[in-house]
């Protein structure tokens, strides 16, 4: 295939941008297998840093916290967000615009504002920072994402399917379980997976609402980086990148395939 000069230049440009986006990550992953503690020069392949990671009690504890928080908040946010998306798709009601803004606003305001406002709330009502506050905060920032993803799925949803179910004798609840939910399931799962990645990756909001005994992995990484660059951070980051990558691949496949 012969390409015009302009086309070649365009491809080269795109390649440079991809390089900019991926080279640092590639280097990070590479160095997580480097023997040298100094990072910069390649001295040989090793799994040492991964092994050390799994012997580090604090890291394991943070991993556990991250997973528990992500699972709990994803489940709760998915239930609340899916119900909300269905309700907002189905009904007109007073205050719909207000609810709409309340769901869009968290997506556009700086996370730090949400973080400190939650911190202010928890400290005012004397809830000690810990698992509960982390989970509550993660549910809050996940709900809008799930609503957006599920509503996008509902946009292609034929309203008369619900009417057909009711017409055939299904109560609203049966209609939801037997028709609406199966049809929008890919959207719901995609939303849940995205909420899960958001939760395991969140730094800013967790930073304010995590307690001393409930450090998550990103917070652990944050404090480790402040003490200096170490190969363990590389290894831990690599593992987190892989988890995110897997979850995002599944989620995007579900989201793009409208015909599932």
């Amino acid at each position: 295939m012969r390409l015009s000069l302009g086309r070649k230049a365009a491809l080269f440009y795109a390649f440079l941008i991809y390089l900019f986006l991926y080279a640092p990550i590639a280097i990070l992953i590479t160095y997580s297998f480097n023997q040298s503690k100094l990072n910069a020069v390649w001295t040989g392949f090793t799994f040492d840093w991964y092994v050390r990671l799994f012997q580090n009690g604090e890291v394991l504890e943070a991993a556990k916290t991250t997973l528990v928080v992500a699972l709990m908040s994803t489940i709760a946010a998915t239930v609340i967000g899916t119900l909300a998306a269905v309700g907002m798709y189905r009904y007109k009601f007073r205050g719909k615009t207000a609810l709409d803004s309340m769901l869009y606003l968290p997506l556009v305001i700086p996370e730090i504002v949400m973080g400190i406002s939650l911190l202010a709330l928890f400290s005012q009502i004397k809830i000690p920072l810990g698992y509960f506050t982390l989970i509550a905060a993660h549910i809050t920032f996940s709900i809008p994402y799930i609503v957006v993803v599920v509503r996008a799925r509902l946009d292609g949803f034929d309203r008369s399917l619900e009417e057909a179910a009711m017409d055939l004798g299904a109560t609203p609840w049966q209609t939801f379980v037997k028709v609406t939910l199966p049809v929008i399931a890919p959207g719901v799962v995609a939303g849940a997976l995205l909420a899960f990645t958001l939760s395991i990756d969140d730094v800013i909001i967790s930073f304010f609402v995590a307690g001393p005994g409930s450090t998550t992995l990103p917070l652990k990484i944050f404090s480790m980086i402040k003490f200096g660059v170490t190969p363990e951070i590389n290894a831990l980051s690599t593992l987190m990148l892989i988890v995110t990558l897997i979850v995002v691949i599944i989620a995007e496949r579900l989201r793009m395939n409208k015909n599932v």
């Binding site: 986006l21 309700g87 609810l99 556009v108 809050t140 939801f176």
Partner: protein, 304 residues
């Protein structure tokens, strides 16, 4: 937020009907009340709370006490703090511009690439969009620090004798911000370029427009919603990303996000921190209103 259901039309009808609650009303209640309750408790009330706190006085123990005051706001307009806001805005603006300048051609190339590659190319943008920005920031620290990859390469290649100071300055912060925020610019740009009907360009060419004229007169104006949405998605979050200045900037790189963070965690001046947050929030809302005015996107749909 009033969540009780609307009076059914039967109730407002001319003939008085027996008031019967439709079963659908319960479904309405069950789908919408959890989200309303949750977002009210954990989003709306906390925001109102910091608005309230911002008018209190800091107590000597780091708590809040009476009297009510606007001193927290007037204090912000001291030269020191207003300068922080100014620098933050400049840095965020620079980030936005750089993302736009690099992102637009890139989004254009992807959107006009052959259909069979397009999804995979797009997917390669979506991955960084979702990956942890802290880890991505860290990757740049690995590259830029004194004993980092770039310096090692340069010295080993004999180009420089001494390592360059690439980290801990505003340049590093800018690199970190652009790197983190670029996908947020590219995705809305891609969306608006991709849905642009090619026949407009063909019509323009047919009417005698040269490619660059067609671009300026057709493509660019029609993709402004994407440009504005992308700019908003880059500008606003970069104001609050405190960890990039924290980790990549020098001790002088105190930006508005760091200021808020420090007021809450270090200085323990919650009223002042709240006031700064409210100012940041107001600035954000101003941007969103401007966005809606320019694009007529009443729902903010383009933003996602």
């Amino acid at each position: 937020m009033k969540m009780e259901t609307l009076p059914t039309t039967a109730e407002t009808g001319l003939q008085s009907q027996p008031k019967q609650r439709q079963p659908r009303d319960w479904a309405k209640w069950w789908t919408l009340s959890p989200v309303t309750l949750w977002m009210t408790c954990f989003f709306l009330i906390p925001l109102l709370l910091i608005l309230l706190v911002s008018f209190f006085t800091r107590s000597s123990f780091g708590g809040i006490e009476m009297p009510l005051t606007i001193e927290n706001y007037t204090r912000f307009f001291d030269s020191l703090y207003i300068k922080i806001l100014w620098v933050s805005c400049l840095l965020s603006l620079a980030t936005t511009l750089l993302c736009l300048v690099f992102g637009y051609p890139f989004a254009y190339i992807i959107a006009r690439s052959p259909q069979r590659y397009r999804n995979i190319l797009l997917f390669l943008i979506i991955i960084p969009f979702w990956t942890n920005s802290l880890i991505r920031t860290y990757a740049w620290i690995l590259l830029l620090r004194t004993e980092g990859v770039i310096n090692t390469l340069l010295i080993n290649a004999g180009i420089f004798e001494q390592p360059l100071t690439l980290l801990y300055n505003n340049f590093a912060v800018l690199v970190g911000l652009v790197y983190t925020m670029l996908p947020f610019m590219v995705l809305p740009l891609y969306a608006s370029i991709e849905k642009l009907d090619k026949s407009y360009l063909e019509a323009a060419a047919d009417l005698g427009a040269k490619p660059w004229q067609a671009f300026w007169k057709i493509t660019f104006p029609l993709t402004t919603p994407g440009i504005v949405a992308g700019s908003l998605l880059v500008f606003v979050p970069s104001l609050g990303l405190f960890f990039i200045p924290d980790l990549m900037g020098g001790s002088k790189s105190v930006l508005i996000g760091n200021l808020i963070k420090n007021q809450f965690l270090t200085a323990r001046d919650w009223p002042f921190g709240s006031a700064v947050s409210i100012i940041l929030m107001a600035l954000t809302l101003l941007c969103i209103v401007a966005y809606m005015r320019t694009t007529n996107d009443k729902q903010g749909k383009e933003l996602l």
